[in-house]
């Protein structure tokens, strides 16, 4: 079975209108939109067509990260929008329960404690069967002083709840207000910051059951192992490669050379198949004619992966991690 562990909803026109109105009115006043079943179905169909074409059995579906608006003032904007998007995810999964699993967005807001997200997370998981969530390490989106790194106590209330609910979090930043750092690049940089902060912290000692996935091949870190290995040698303590095995990664980096590096550095037992398709990588590679995010054949071509490695990457790493996943849901 091929599970694409990291994918996002296609946003219906009515939702774009709602988002535009929310931003324009700053949610004062606002009217919640009512998406028709048809609108939800049409959006899902776009994804299903792609899945069928590239051979994906199941996608884990979450709100589109760069559109989470975690920094738009006031907090009510992101609260309403997150609710709307999670509703969309939920309805999509209910319509196509064999093809999708729901992953929640969190109503994080600027530098406020993630404690305000626990209720939304709990309801989605317990009442609607969501199996994981997104975690934005910088909900200020680059507008002002960011919250502490993921290794700090600031995040413990969320880690606590993640462990209690036994759901993994996908570390994924949202937008970027800095004119010099596009959101797509901020994803990468935030992942690097997240990893280093976690690796230098006691988070996994405090929360041994915490499950965090760093997408996009782990930001820049697997490409800069020498720098961090030298640091752990010099400062003592556990070797950097060993620390890194507390994390999980995914394959959304769209290049065979890069994926090979990733597998070599973190091990095939730590990497989840993922494409974000349709998304950033959805453009045809002139060399292959296939889209950059059609990663299944790319991974199948990597010679040094064993059959078991591939099974792990395509399915088992994911199902081991997402314990709330049920095949026959």
């Amino acid at each position: 079975m091929i599970i694409d562990s990291h994918a996002h909803v296609v946003v219906p026109a009515e939702s774009y209108k709602f988002m535009a109105e929310l931003v324009a009115s700053r949610a004062n006043p606002y009217l919640m939109p009512k998406l028709s079943d048809e609108a939800v179905r049409n959006a899902a169909k776009l994804i299903l067509d792609i899945m069928d074409k590239v051979g994906t059995d199941i996608q884990f579906l979450s709100p589109r990260p760069y559109m989470q608006m975690h920094s738009v003032k006031p907090a009510r904007v992101t609260a309403l929008w997150t609710q709307h998007m999670n509703d969309l995810v939920h309805r999509t999964v209910q319509m196509f329960p064999k093809r999708f699993r729901p992953v929640a967005g969190l109503p994080q807001y600027r530098d406020e404690s993630p404690a305000n997200c626990l209720k939304e997370l709990e309801i989605r998981v317990k009442e609607q069967g969501f199996i994981g969530c997104l975690l934005n390490p910088d909900p200020t989106e680059g507008d002002g002083t960011p919250p502490p790194g993921l290794g700090e106590e600031f995040w413990y209330p969320l880690y606590d709840k993640l462990c209690e609910l036994d759901v993994p979090a996908l570390v994924h930043s949202a937008g970027s207000c800095s004119p010099r750092e596009s959101y797509t690049l901020k994803f990468i940089n935030e992942e690097s910051i997240a990893i280093v902060s976690l690796m230098n912290s006691k988070v996994f000692e405090k929360f041994p059951k915490l499950k965090l996935i760093v997408p996009h091949g782990g930001g820049a870190i697997p490409y800069h192992m020498g720098r961090f290995r030298a640091w752990t040698i010099r400062s003592g303590g556990e070797f950097f490669d060993d620390r890194l095995r507390r994390l999980h990664f995914d394959t959304t980096t769209y290049d065979k050379d890069a994926l090979e590096l990733l597998f070599k550095v973190v091990g095939a037992d730590r990497v989840l198949f993922a494409t974000e398709n349709p998304g950033t990588g959805s453009a045809p590679d002139p060399k292959t004619g296939r889209a950059y995010d059609d990663l299944k054949p790319v991974i199948e071509e990597i010679a040094f992966l064993s059959e078991e490695d591939r099974r792990n990457v395509f399915e088992c790493n994911c199902t081991r991690l997402y314990t709330r996943f049920r095949k026959d849901d």
Copy 2:
């Protein structure tokens, strides 16, 4: 002829999507959308149906003010969005040249000088036949220190260009970031601030040909004449009622009592017919069954207006002011 001097485009779904993407990506990166003729036509049709129903011959069409996003950082967001909306206005007018006239939005940005808007205004007026523009007196949208009042030199570069091009400006604020002041109320408050600032300034001495229209019945000012009359009596100088005659007003206040007050205070020769239909007033009045913004019958019922008054209000005040208006365009 019935000219509705103040109305706004209906935004197509593709534009909402663009706006949502602009905000989410902070215009980095961005792709300009291409609206189909059909999308433009469908949006226009919604307006035309209403116009036909309520008996409006011509609408002056501008971007929807509360969606101008003048305070969203960085400046490129509002620059691109204004361009897109003005393009939509232009294409709509080109499709239905007998029913619409174009009024431009300006790419104002936070507390920056309006000098950055002159080029966009000039191009729209000279090359595309726009006959007026919107003027937002607080493009910070309540997020930070607002620019100086409309009576201050800050605005002179724009006044200069308005006089040079001989186009009126409609004083209309945009959104409101303050959680305690909705955009709809900010419209009113900003109009009051604008009037008082202008009335205590030398703007009309410096720019005797400047034409400014204060919509929504002139904010709170016609209802608070006593306060300002007493002030001019006490401080000397021209009487407040006389100063006020340098401005123009419109009828977008949706209540017969209020409109009667307006006509009494500022005179029927200073008021332009306007409805913003469809818009804020588009809800059925339970007393009449008509929409609140169906103002033609309301004005026709005001007993103390003469036939000439009505003609002025419905047409001639407007055509005198908008000198670039041509009947047979």
Copy 3:
């Protein structure tokens, strides 16, 4: 009996000196001034002469709002000044108990919780017989981010105390630091903001006994009913006119047309006679020769008011609301 429910003390020269010293020294150090009985009496005489001339029996006397200095740093400035002004009110009322009733100013400070005002309010009411207070919805006076709207929990501690003491609050802003918005205009705008915030809130469900008076004819709202009626129609819930009946208003708007609009919109049973005389309206109307704030004859001329309406406006609305008022105090 004619009760002018909204009037302010005349400030003696010694108090101006104190205020000047407070601001210059930022209350560090300071010496409390001791007003002579003569100074208090002379100030009161100025008011009494006017009252006799215009036929007012009793005035409710409070500190002059625009001089409350709620935003001057540090908090000790406004604390000392408020105390001094409330003392002046108290002494004035003690000297002329048949002609005045005391209404307290509150030592509000910038965006700090109104909880710091409860003690001053309680002492003035319980120990000195004050019958109401002022409530400034924006004690930042436009210098920085204002506190939440009057509909928000931020204000609950004060509402609680108002209900407990059974005293009404007069919603009246103070100064304005924004160079583009004079304090006299800010009064109006703040009243509009206050009304809309309250009308969209659950304040009167939580505090059914809360009594709030919006002076100056209710800001801009009675002139913009169409806008807010349409909104309640569209969003559902109680009709705007019905919501508005939870509030009270007063007649300090100085124009017959405006007063007629006010009575029509909110009803004669919701309006209190008030003049702020001497104050903003104290200048001769060239048309009548009377001062703008000599409102008794103006109201008596309004044809559609019944005798009972007039009695309500001039006395009974006020005495019903101010339950701590005693005729024979």
Copy 4:
């Protein structure tokens, strides 16, 4: 002849009222007060009585420094107030030309360049015979980042004008917004900062004719000579005592021991007689029965001063410095 080179006007009641109104209204709107001749005369009489009592022939009169309100926003407040106070100084001197000489306040504003003060200074000196001015080294009054030290180029435009007009400036700060530093202490601290900044600068090389007087005995510096002598020894360059002779000082420090230290450290040829009477020192010394600011007998008691020293201190240092002073004005 006894010249008291540093004294301030007594503020009439009407001026306090104006100041209070200016602050309350932030000068929007405002009405300039018209002081009666009687008010001006009465205020002057209070000073003349003191002068006669303590034996002062002539006072140099300037606005009261701590009331200059250089930091109150917006700039128009201090502009109007400075104008009003300089007018008061001017009228007082015109009434009693044998007993007073005028020294101007400057409309400095927060961290803005002193260039905005040049016009006011020039008019007062050239058209009204002012002979000097105050110079506030921190017009932010402790509210925000202060401007650069007096040794920096920021102040050159003012130094240029002072040299051109050949008038001395008295370095005197105004109020203090910092709750922990009263204005009276800030005077002292600012003088220390001013001296050190000037001593480490090239100001007197660039402006060899610049005449600056540091009042209040030169802040803390004469008491801390060891610290600064050691510094110049260690870092090289001119010895600190020699540098200090580019400045002038005055006697407003109210204690014989302190004055003796001052004379020893800076030399009797650098010190001007001054009392600020009536002012900070106007309270009876229980030991002598005289007011602390009755400094003439104190100075006469200092044994080590020669007759010539005393003549210099009481008259000649001052007349040498204030070249625009004429005995027979």
Copy 5:
């Protein structure tokens, strides 16, 4: 016995390197340096040579104040540096127990409560025999809004602990970020501010056992007694000279005239011998050939001091105050 109650460590090269790295890396990451015994001994030897030369028996040794970096972000920088410096003090005293006594620096940080320093203070005093500490009244070092004055409740947690441990605090500011106020001048100004804040407070009523020493001759205050005496006369309450006797002072002002003034004003029983040698005063006085900070002969020359006075100054005032001092440690 000659006790120099106020002196600072000489910083070894390894510590400078550590400080430079801390600032450059903002303590992320960092490695604590390990000073060799030799480095500690060499630094101490530099001081001992001076002590022997000038005849000092014992020095009270604390971290060098201007290098405390209390404002460098983040807090971890100053926390680590303070720990390192206190360790250096401790090791120096352990090496030369007859010649030094340890005084602790506190890890104060910007405007945060001094409560975070109590643990460090307690450990140093109870476990390592420290006998006092430094107290920086402005740990923002002029970068932003300073904490409340020493007379305010903000400081009570620290005063509480000082009383509980029965250790004096030396009021000594650190660096200065303001380009116009060098750290050396800020010492003086902060001491003046500290004294005035304490003298106008109830601190010594609340903490009658609190022992505070104001070094550098008490800032500017002894030179400006007239100003503050007049104030207490005018405002009532205890006379300023009497209030001042709750404090202690030291002799680090490097000038005979200044020291004479100090002894006269505050009394020889309130002044502790202190030199900060080597430090600011370590430069040769061209008049005497001795260093400015070689103060023993200077004090011995002051004629009006009795033998007992001198004994008090050189030893007994200090030993009375520092109750944890033991001669034979």
Copy 6:
């Protein structure tokens, strides 16, 4: 010949002391240190020993980047420190002209224009033979809003001068004030931001002769080519791989797998040999026993590089780029 194009000085103890003093005093006051020849020589010897051991013929020596203090206020701190460090570089090169070449640090300061650096750069290049410089893309060091991206006009004055002098710049950030992003990680993130900003700009069209080197293997970009390739496919314009060839890179990434990826992605003709030895990578790799930054054998092991490739990497790419390099200097 083996040229290590990217290495930094070893900082002598005296310089650390100077840096510590500069930070503690905020350069007010300051005394420039005078390094002895011995101090300079000893520091250089540490490097030469390493060079000899690992087989490097020549190092290009610049100030240590993370210690540049570009954000420490005020600007004079970094100005003095940069001057001191460039002097150290210059003296080191003069002592060992066959083994080192000088690369300058620039006195960049927070968000100020790089125009203030041109004079220092010009002097170092023209008068002292420096052959290149560092360029910090974020001199705010994460403390506040960063300057525009390297693709923006903000940087044109520097690019202009670089072209005029024909010297390459090494894009290297300095410290990081953000507690969640260590300087070592910020290097990587800033390089990614720099590349993307440049690739989306017209910088190389405006400055075709501009030579920029992105060290540390180009940040994260070579590992995320898929993401950026897809973007250029989708948005049109030149393919990302082609754009990237306008830049140069170096080998300071300390891992064979990473270096192989780098060579594959950008080509061996675009990569300069570089080690920063001694530096971040100076710790023994437990697998090889060699230090991580001993990269010569690592590169020699990469099978797919030809002899010519290696010559290019070790020498010719560098000498082609650094046109001011002379072998026999």
